[in-house]
């Protein structure tokens, strides 16, 4: 009987695919999935349609709880990992519980990135990454008519479409840094700007935000170098940062994400990373790459699980290609998913 305990940190597409793959190939091992949110696995890329009322909350969920019971996968929701002690093969949860593991897959995903110069205004910004974020937007949009979207990641474009269908006035301030890991250039900027303008969005040329002031619950004033803008809400869409801060003391090598090789191995035996939190060198672009997107995350989760079980699978890290999205041409697979 195989009594090994495999722990997966992260309840998103990479984590769930990893869990399912482990169970498929190792029927007797213990599998635990730890998720920070209190809800079961859902597709965050559908959140804009959920906000617009096109989808119900049930439509977002990927697998019911029965799936985990049936597959004997222990699902621990609403639990935050605060430390990983790889030498002792232990992880520490916020409520001080220690869990031992024999194999570990880190699939913590990403969290909204706020550029350093805007972090002092973070409390006035609304992101859209999680289901609670979406519910906060639904509440807010009932009371306001206009939204300023700052940044330019793909969620922001999908969300903008949703806002337009709801009859909201949308201002859009494109900021190049938001396109990470995509190399932002003038072509992308012009393409995005033209498409948004055609759809009725007021595009504001990239400017430095000098200040954000809350006038009331439903009115925010945004000061740039040249204008003052009164809007109902400020949406922060600067892309995602791998959610790896809690690993700072683990000894893992972290740059933007957890650095792994093409088999998703970290520096430590039996410890893998997959999905939006894994950073792997990509010879095709001569650079490190964080492969973002639902499908990519699932593929990486599967590869990590197989390798943890002793396979030699090389991750299919999406090569950069040309994709079309609402007539916008962009150079990454990331965009195709939203």
């Amino acid at each position: 009987m195989d009594t090994r305990h495999f722990v997966i940190i992260g309840n998103g597409p990479a984590g769930n695919e990893a869990a399912a793959t482990l169970r498929e190939h190792a029927p007797y091992v213990r599998i635990t999935v730890i998720g920070q949110e209190h809800v079961i696995y859902y597709r965050p890329n559908l959140l804009p349609d959920f906000i617009a009322g096109k989808l119900s909350e049930d439509d977002l969920y990927v697998k019911p709880l029965e799936f985990y019971k049936e597959k004997d996968i222990k699902l621990r929701l609403g639990q935050k990992v605060v430390d990983v002690n790889i030498a002792d093969r232990e992880i520490v949860l916020e409520h001080k519980e220690v869990i031992r593991f024999d194999g570990l897959i880190l699939a913590t995903g990403g969290k909204p990135r706020i550029p350093e110069h805007l972090q002092v205004f973070e409390h006035l910004m609304l992101p859209l990454k999680t289901l609670p974020d979406a519910k906060a937007w639904i509440q807010k949009l009932r009371q306001i008519d206009s939204v300023l979207i700052v940044g330019g990641d793909l969620t922001s474009l999908c969300f903008t479409k949703a806002l337009l269908t709801m009859g909201k006035k949308v201002f859009f301030m494109i900021q190049g840094g938001a396109f990470w890991p995509v190399r932002f250039d003038a072509d992308i900027h012009d393409s995005v700007s033209r498409t948004l303008t055609e759809k009725g969005v007021e595009v504001i040329d990239s400017e430095n935000i000098k200040g954000i002031t809350k006038i009331s619950e439903n009115e925010i004033v945004v000061n740039t170098e040249t204008r003052k803008l009164n809007v109902g809400a400020f949406g922060a869409f600067f892309g995602l940062m791998p959610d790896v801060k809690f690993l700072a003391r683990s000894g893992l090598t972290i740059e933007r994400g957890i650095i792994v090789d093409e088999r998703l191995r970290t520096r430590f035996e039996g410890v893998y990373a997959a999905g939006d939190c894994a950073q792997v060198y990509h010879p095709g672009i001569r650079d490190y790459w964080v492969s973002i997107g639902y499908r990519n995350a699932r593929n990486l989760g599967k590869a990590a699980a197989l390798n943890l079980l002793g396979e030699q699978v090389t991750a299919d890290v999406a090569a950069p290609g040309i994709f079309q999205f609402d007539e916008i041409t962009v150079n990454t697979s990331w965009w195709t998913e939203f």
Partner: protein
């Protein structure tokens, strides 16, 4: 304010076990090269005694106003508040600055209280090590002269750190307080050129070489001689000297230390449009504080990791840097990470200014005596003696680049050894002071107070005027709030097992596993407790013990104990005069 500390008994111990206890249980003080009594000065500030808090710093680190701004903060890396599940370390450094900001005018002690050392001593170099040695030797009664090659005293503090991080008025005041002790300063005197070491040795009873490190290291890759390429140290020194170099629109800084960050931030203030700091490893490998990284990024400077420069390209003027991407490997014995280039990943990044800030070394001074492989006079790390009687060496000049607090500690230690050599007697010693104490008014809820971060000027207002100080200092209210977070690790908690009724209330109330059912204890060679052997069986319990290595001094166990069997004492590493000076 009632400190709730009643002093019924005080003793001084030189037992290795007690030193070992402090090393393990007061991690902040042990991590400070100068052994600053951090819990004591934080507690003083909490009590509103800003003068006392400043003085508790000054007596060992000499420049609290300076260090409160630019210290590398090894203490914060060891602060218990930064351990897993406990949050962020206490903002120790900025509390130090708050003590300086809010104190009354400080006047250093004058002669009359000083020791009996009457010798004439010459110190070469008015940097942190030289000034620290001068301070201590002067207080022992020596007649000290400092010879400084540059126009102003302060060394790297004056010429290596930009004013927006360290205002010159703060630096000037604290240097002035050292000179007021009767130290003579002669600037513009380059030893080895204007005056020979041999002449100094014949004119003084002792000569201490503490000339620092002023030769910038280069990468030794092709293209470093192109126009538009600056050594980082030269770059910051020219700015400090009032002759800032011209920078282009696009600046690349190569380096991972404070000088690299200073160069990048200066370049932005000199008008560069895009500035990036390129490093071989990752942000984890940087040797600067998190605050420095954050503020640098806030100003719009990017940090690009996993890049190794191969050559600088350009025809007559630099036009870019050819990088190869790197792969981090395992940690090396020196604490750094092995970095390996990835073959085939070369690319060129455009730049019209490149600043190479990868470190610096000592510029040897012509002198007799045995030299090390750098050509610098060789010194003993313990005694600071060279091969020649009466000639000593200390600080960065002896060891290579170090931090300011390490230089100050080295200068003080060198002064102690010089005084001992000249007089044949010991003036001071480190000892462990132990005194009865009682639980403080510290509350468990204070453990949840978030770290109070340093307020700074908005990035859009930082560039003009050029030298405006970025950090504003903690107002009294914030400093007081931050001081509450300190666990006061100098307090030692102990259970009197002869009175303990084993009710377990302390265990139940403990915020972490700091109270243990012990079957046995293992002592280290020094006699200190090195390990508590725990047991889960009541039959085997021989004592219920507080594991001071895990204790966060929240005091909760003392409050809940129904039989008042938990005592508190204060244990401090402190310096004291030996037999009166």
């Amino acid at each position: 304010m009632d400190t709730n500390i009643h002093q019924t008994e005080m003793l001084y111990s030189n037992s290795p076990a007690d030193f070992d206890y402090v090393r393990v249980n007061v991690p902040c003080q042990s991590a400070c090269p100068a052994y600053t009594n951090i819990p004591a000065y934080i507690r003083s500030l909490y009590e509103g005694k800003y003068d006392n808090s400043y003085e508790l710093n000054r007596i060992v680190n000499l420049m609290p106003g300076v260090l409160g701004r630019i210290c590398s903060r090894p203490c914060e890396e060891k602060c218990r508040h930064g351990e897993p599940e406990l949050g962020k370390p206490v903002n120790i450094c900025h509390i130090k600055r708050a003590a300086d900001d809010h104190k009354n005018a400080f006047e250093p002690p004058r002669g009359g209280l000083f020791g009996s050392l009457d010798e004439r001593i010459c110190i070469v170099g008015a940097g942190p090590a030289g000034l620290a040695a001068a301070h201590d030797l002067a207080t022992l009664g020596a007649k000290v002269t400092i010879l400084e090659a540059l126009a102003e005293p302060g060394g790297m503090l004056m010429y290596g750190i930009p004013e927006f991080r360290l205002p010159r008025q703060v630096l000037g005041e604290e240097i002035g307080n050292i000179l007021k002790l009767g130290v003579e300063l002669k600037t513009g005197v380059r030893v080895g050129k204007d005056v020979a070491v041999e002449d100094l040795m014949s004119g003084y009873d002792a000569v201490l070489l503490a000339a620092g490190c002023y030769t910038a290291r280069m990468l030794e890759i092709p293209g470093e001689n192109l126009v538009g390429v600056y050594p980082g140290l030269d770059f910051v020194m020219q700015v400090a000297d009032g002759n800032p170099p011209r920078v282009g629109d696009s600046v690349v800084v190569l380096g991972a230390g404070f000088t690299a960050f200073d160069c990048a931030r200066i370049a932005l203030r000199l008008g560069a449009k895009e500035v990036s700091i390129c490093i071989r490893g990752t942000e984890q490998d940087l040797r600067v504080t998190h605050e420095e990284i954050f503020e640098t990024k806030r100003e719009g400077i990017s940090i690009q990791g996993l890049l190794l420069s191969q050559r600088l390209v350009g025809s007559d003027k630099v036009e870019g840097v050819e990088f190869v991407r790197t792969q981090p490997g395992e940690l090396l014995p020196n604490g750094r990470r092995r970095i390996e280039p990835i073959a085939g990943s070369e690319f060129i990044q455009a730049a019209d200014t490149v600043i190479v800030a990868i470190g610096q070394g000592a510029d040897p001074i012509p002198s007799p005596g045995e030299k090390d492989k750098r050509g610098v006079v060789k010194g003993d790390p313990e005694t600071f003696r060279t091969s020649l009687p009466g000639l000593y060496v200390a600080g960065d000049f002896m060891t290579g680049p170090s931090t300011v607090i390490e230089s100050i500690a080295a200068g003080r230690k060198a002064a102690e050894k010089i005084a001992e050599s000249l007089s044949g007697k010991k003036f001071r010693e480190w000892t462990v002071r132990i005194q009865d104490a009682r639980i403080t008014d510290r509350q468990r809820s204070w453990d949840m107070i978030p770290r109070q971060e340093m307020p700074t000027i908005d990035p859009s207002h930082r560039l003009h005027p050029f030298n405006i100080e970025v950090e504003l200092g903690l107002p009294k209210e914030l400093a007081h709030e931050e001081a509450k977070r300190c666990y006061l690790c100098y307090l030692h908690y102990e259970i009197d097992i002869s009175r303990c009724i084993y009710c377990r209330l302390c265990i139940d109330s403990a915020p972490r596993d700091c109270i243990k059912l012990a079957e046995d204890v293992v002592l280290s060679e020094s006699g200190a407790i090195s390990k508590i052997v725990e047991t889960g069986s009541w039959q085997n319990v021989s004592a219920i013990m507080i594991d001071n290595e895990r204790c966060i001094r929240c005091g909760e166990c003392v409050r809940v104990c129904p039989v008042d069997c938990i005592s508190v004492s204060k244990v401090e590493l402190t310096e004291r005069a030996v037999g009166g000076i």
